[in-house]
């Protein structure tokens, strides 16, 4: 896979964010890094879109490019119907009040010298929202919402909190301006499992309380399944597969998704770890990605066609899309081209 195309995009007024043919390239001394290459996504109001993939797949770059941090090399990012790339700096800053970001490392993303109340109030101060008293009340309200006692936490500094508590402060800061869309980039991967569960539950609660729309970026498939309404799997700067979590995890269509799911260690000793059907080798360099389908060099189903023709995203089931010539489920590949072992590899 790893293909382009827009078959999975939806129409309708409730689409908050629409990303079309997004490309991000970095020019380095070693050549051009093709970090994100023509991906399209959309998110409906109140939905959580999970963006999942291994390191180097471009999931974080996608999240940042949506925020225009930095702006993408090409492609459109339509937020509330406006193309963010066409906005001036001032207009973009204004839009970002409704488009917030939560970073992976909760400790380094908070200024260690400032008190929690100032960190959380800063967006309000910058936008001159309300009087001092109103701001204080608002800060207390969001701190309380994320599960921190404002009377205790407000005058402390980040180092006095644990990682999980710092992530709560980050969440409070992102919510204080009442955003529409929050992009969470690996918000729980630096946390212990017991704390991770607290933060995942908190995000679900905040989504309900403030009517948020989320983009949740993570490498952990189980975490993404838990929180998402729709999941997009990425590989080397391309979209592999898009679908509802229950559907996509039960019947992965893309060989990469299937291999990824097989690799996850299951906390159950009666399930022996997979010894076969695992991916071999390493991620190819994004400096010189493979021709055609970018996954073909590690794909068990790869055929000659995959090398010269890039697969396009196409429907394969109800709200389930795949970019692959030879998907492992519901395969409708042209007769005679179905490689031997396609069905076997899903076992």
């Amino acid at each position: 896979m790893a293909g382009t195309g827009t078959a999975h995009l939806r129409s309708g007024e409730d689409v908050v964010l629409r990303v079309e043919d997004l490309t991000v390239e970095f020019h380095t001394a070693a050549g051009t890094v093709h970090a994100v290459s023509g991906i399209s996504l959309d998110v409906r109001a109140g939905e959580t879109l999970g963006l999942v993939g291994e390191s180097g797949c471009g999931k974080s770059t996608t999240g940042r490019a949506i925020m225009q941090l930095p702006p993408p090399t090409s492609g459109q990012v339509l937020f509330e119907g406006k193309d963010l790339a066409s906005l001036s700096g001032q207009q973009l800053r204004e839009v970002r009040t409704r488009l917030q970001f939560i970073f992976q490392d909760p400790i380094s993303s908070l200024n260690p010298r400032r008190k929690v109340k100032d960190i959380v109030a800063e967006p309000l101060r910058i936008w001159k929202r309300g009087t001092d008293a109103e701001r204080r009340a608002r800060v207390a309200e969001v701190l309380d919402a994320v599960g921190l006692d404002p009377t205790v936490a407000a005058d402390k500094r980040p180092h006095q909190f644990s990682g999980g508590q710092c992530q709560r402060i980050s969440i409070a800061r992102s919510l204080v301006l009442e955003p529409t869309l929050v992009i969470c980039d690996e918000p729980v991967s630096a946390l212990d499992v017991s704390v991770q569960a607290q933060i995942l539950n908190l995000l679900e609660d905040m989504k309900e309380r403030y009517g948020l729309t989320l983009i949740f970026i993570a490498h952990d498939l189980a975490v993404v399944k838990n929180i998402s309404d729709r999941v997009a799997v990425m590989y080397l700067g391309k979209i592999c597969e898009v679908g509802s979590p229950d559907d996509l995890y039960a019947t992965p269509a893309h060989p990469y998704t299937a291999a990824l799911l097989r690799s996850i260690p299951v906390p159950d000793p009666t399930v022996p770890p997979a010894q076969t059907g695992l991916l071999t080798g390493d991620l190819p360099s994004p400096l010189d990605p493979p021709s055609g389908c970018r996954f073909r060099t590690r794909c068990p189903n790869a055929q000659e066609r995959c090398a010269y023709e890039e697969p396009q995203v196409r429907p394969i089931g109800d709200e389930h899309y795949v970019a692959c010539h030879f998907p492992v489920h519901g395969a409708d590949a042209p007769a005679g081209e179905v490689p031997v072992g396609v069905t076997g590899s899903t076992a």
Partner: protein, 382 residues
């Protein structure tokens, strides 16, 4: 197939016996009881999983057994016997004779555990040359076969490359090759796959298992991920606040959890088979301060089952049926006493019990900002 050093069982009795072992750090803020009375036994060729969250003492335990904590503020007491030889109090020279040949370690981060300015080949042959006095050419030939056996393609070329020329997964294969070079009887793998992607993780764990079986080597697999140890260990020890709180053969532990902490840990992990938006159970609060740990059970302040007795008296590690299953709890999960304790707590709206049931740490008032400590216990594995 090139020559390989295979560990052969030589001495009778268990390979590793750890008895009431403690590792404390003297600091300005008081004595941190990082490992506080751990006992365990490991037979030859077996795999022990040590599971715990950050700060549970699992990494300190493995490093302290290896004798890698040599700073002057480290106080090690109790006993660690490898093949009958006492390691607590052993001199550096004595330890040096054991490192590599008797026990070795694979570290979490392959980016930092390799020397960036030394070629891969030299890093592998270093141990062979130093410990086993293998001649240069032969050491290089052995390094080549080691790289082959850990699944590195084109090993001949890799010998003359530097670590930065290899991917993360390949580097971890190199550190495994280094650890295996002198044929140790005991391998510590401390979070060997935490820094790696999930597809690479599966490859590395399979490699470790295969090498362990082939060499009849005992392995201690230290991890925070219960999924990693579930299918790959004979026995699991769960650590909390410097102590082992439950220890059992792997299948027994998962089928028959007794310790509330283990139960809570298992229930807080999102699972692939659960439908999306399944409410996760949480463990409210945070691990205790290891300078002044609670007098009673160290998990009691966060435990849904905790009773007054738990706060007053530390439960001993007791053996249960079937033999080999030990846990540290007054009101164990799955027993009449445990059931009653949980019901009583729910009836009395004890926050920890409600949090475990509703998954809502906030309503349960468990996010205790009042008890903030001054050290940020950054989650994950630093």
């Amino acid at each position: 197939m090139a020559r390989r050093i295979i560990a052969a069982p030589s001495v009778e009795g268990p390979l590793l016996v750890v008895d009431d072992f403690r590792t404390h750090f003297r600091t300005d803020g008081g004595t941190v009881r990082a490992v506080d009375g751990v006992s365990l036994t490991l037979e030859r060729g077996r795999t022990l999983g040590i599971v715990g969250e950050s700060g549970s003492g699992k990494t300190v335990l493995s490093r302290s057994i290896m004798g890698l904590l040599t700073a002057r503020n480290v106080v090690r007491t109790g006993s660690v016997k490898l093949n009958g030889q006492e390691l607590v109090g052993a001199s550096n020279a004595e330890m040096r004779a054991l490192w590599g040949t008797e026990m070795a370690m694979v570290f979490q981060d392959p980016m930092t555990s390799l020397n960036p300015v030394m070629k891969i080949g030299r890093q592998i042959t270093e141990g062979l040359r130093f410990h086993l006095k293998v001649p240069k050419d032969e050491a290089r030939a052995q390094a080549l076969s080691l790289l082959e056996s850990v699944g590195i393609p084109d090993p001949k070329r890799r010998l003359d490359q530097y670590p930065h020329e290899l991917s993360g997964g390949m580097r971890q294969r190199v550190t495994i090759a280094i650890a295996l070079a002198c044929g140790p009887h005991l391998l510590f793998a401390d979070e060997p796959t935490t820094a790696l992607d999930v597809t690479v993780q599966a490859q590395i764990l399979n490699l470790l298992q295969e090498q362990q079986r082939e060499r009849y080597m005992a392995m201690v697999l230290v991890t925070h991920d219960l999924g990693v140890v579930a299918g790959r260990t004979d026995e699991i020890a769960v650590m909390y606040a410097g102590q082992i709180v439950e220890k059992a053969p792997t299948s027994t532990l998962f089928a028959n959890v007794r310790m509330p902490y283990t139960e809570a840990l298992l229930k807080s992990i999102p699972k692939l088979e659960q439908p999306s938006h399944t409410r996760l159970q949480i463990i409210g609060g945070r691990p205790p301060d290891l300078v002044n740990p609670p007098h009673g059970c160290r998990f009691a302040p966060r435990c849904p089952y905790a009773q007054p007795k738990c706060h007053a008296e530390m439960p001993p590690l007791v053996e249960a049926e079937p033999p080999g299953h030990e846990y540290r709890c007054w009101f164990p999960v799955g027993t009449e006493a445990g059931r009653e304790a949980l019901e009583r707590n729910l009836a009395e709206h004890v926050p920890a019990a409600e949090a475990a049931v509703t998954g809502d740490s906030h309503a349960a008032g468990l996010v205790d900002t009042a008890g903030l400590v001054d050290t940020a216990d950054h989650g994950g594995e630093a």
